[in-house]
């Protein structure tokens, strides 16, 4: 026998279910209850950097859009600073870096407006390419899925990114790179998430 370690165990995850909107986006469920819903303004009015929109769809193993997804984004500002007391540096007043968005009930499309994040210092002094951390929950997803959105126009930074480089299969890295387009004068990045199949998105155990 040995001494007991007595750590607690993390509460096991359960699916967010089909009615996640009631709790986290009640307006989308069809009713108005809170003074303000949380997570609709990621960057705030004072954020420096390039204003962008990120859009996509989440596709299941049959190739169909998933229409009851909730996604949360967590990102640094344009200078690579997270709005968090443990991250050195200051962010602009009103910059939160966090947002949540749901997919359209009819089409499965989602999208949010923000600023493009800057590179963030990673482990051991290795700079990480600009990226948005993404957390995906839905009915049928038992534990929320973590992935990262990288940007197509950051070719050199992406190639040097320490997280990209631990993905052994180079062709899978492409699943993390959002495609840059322009629409009505606005920069739009397209980031589709595939749950299964040949181009299954890389998901991380963080």
């Amino acid at each position: 026998m040995t001494q007991e370690l007595n750590y607690l165990k993390e509460s096991p995850s359960q699916t967010a279910g089909p009615y996640v909107h009631i709790g986290l986006a009640p307006g989308a469920a069809g009713f108005d209850i809170y003074r303000q819903e949380l997570g609709w303004d990621i960057a705030g009015p004072n954020a420096k950097g390039e204003r962008i929109r990120v859009e996509g769809i989440v596709i299941d193993g049959t190739g169909s859009p998933i229409k009851d997804v909730l996604l949360e984004a967590w990102q640094a500002n344009s200078e690579g600073i997270y709005a968090h007391p443990e991250h050195p540096g200051e962010v602009e007043d009103g910059f939160r870096g966090w947002g949540r968005v749901i997919t359209d009930f009819a089409t499965g499309e989602w999208g949010f407006d923000t600023v493009k994040p800057g590179p963030v210092m990673g482990r051991n002094g290795r700079m990480m390419a600009p990226h948005i951390n993404l957390w995906v929950v839905a009915r049928g997803i038992n534990v929320g899925l973590n992935t990262r959105i990288y940007f197509e126009d950051e070719v050199e930074a992406n190639a040097a990114d320490p997280v990209m480089n631990i993905i052994e299969w180079e062709r899978r890295r492409a699943t993390l790179i959002a495609k840059r387009t322009e629409r009505d004068g606005q920069i739009v990045y397209r980031f589709d998430v595939k749950m299964q199949g040949e181009d299954e998105t890389v998901f991380f155990d963080i």
Partner: protein, 242 residues
């Protein structure tokens, strides 16, 4: 001197697997490739913070936060309370806890829910609060009803409350469900049973807590939530490399 470091590895054998064939919706929504394991960087150790300007005091009272003046929802009045702790047993203070649930008849106020049990005009079904400096939180609500769902043809969800918690870093983000002591539907629920370990399931079953009951008024259930713990960095290279 030690400082706060990375989160303990998530025990993937304690959590449900992505693919659980008896929970049919998971079949086409589960990644087939293995997750890529990441050591934490600033992107995972940091996470959103919330304050009292984000929410209102009434938000944790589901008995009154959607009721018309002088009315209240139908159902067993209950308090759900407990602490948010990490795996080291330390309280997680000032963290956002959000809940949502069906009404006492098992019907959700959601435009996609078509179950024949009626909507309760005095019940919205969601609440949110911040833990205090000791990690403590509480809600007042009515006990949700069981309801049928399309999985096997005669599946019924046990009474449950959905719970969303943030913690201090994005790697602690968690959504789970709280069940109720003594509910016979827990044992046969395909969603509950995505969790392989019985002890892990028990961790999601709130106990009737008569000490927290308000006599002649409201029953209480105690539900502690545990988030991933954090390592103290003792001799490691400093994470940021600066």
């Amino acid at each position: 001197m030690s400082t706060k470091g990375e989160f303990y590895q998530r025990d993937r054998l304690w959590h449900p697997p992505a693919y659980a064939k008896d929970y049919k919706t998971s079949v086409t929504r589960s990644p087939q490739y293995a997750l890529i394991s990441l050591q934490n960087s600033a992107s995972e150790i940091t996470g959103p913070t919330f304050g009292h300007r984000d929410i209102d005091p009434i938000d944790n009272d589901l008995i009154s936060n959607y009721a018309q003046a002088g009315e209240s929802p139908i159902g067993e009045r209950i308090i759900v309370h407990g602490r948010v702790l990490d795996e080291n047993g330390r309280p997680v203070p000032n963290t956002l806890v959000e809940i949502w649930q069906a009404n006492a008849g098992g019907r959700y106020r959601h435009k996609k829910d078509t179950y024949l049990a009626p909507i309760d005009p005095n019940f919205g079904g969601c609440g949110r609060t911040l833990t205090d400096e000791n990690g403590y939180y509480y809600f007042r609500t009515v006990k949700p009803g069981a309801y049928p769902w399309r999985n096997w043809v005669n599946d019924w969800r046990p009474a449950h409350i959905h719970v969303s918690v943030f913690g201090s870093g994005f790697a602690q983000r968690l959504i789970t469900q709280m069940y109720f002591e003594g509910d016979p539907l827990v044992a046969t629920c395909p969603i509950v049973n995505t969790i392989p370990d019985k002890a892990a399931i028990n961790q999601l079953i709130a106990a009737l807590d008569r000490n927290a009951t308000i006599p002649l008024d409201t029953m209480a259930y105690k539900f502690d939530i545990v988030l991933r713990g954090r390592r103290s960095t003792l001799f490691e290279n400093r994470l940021e490399g600066n």
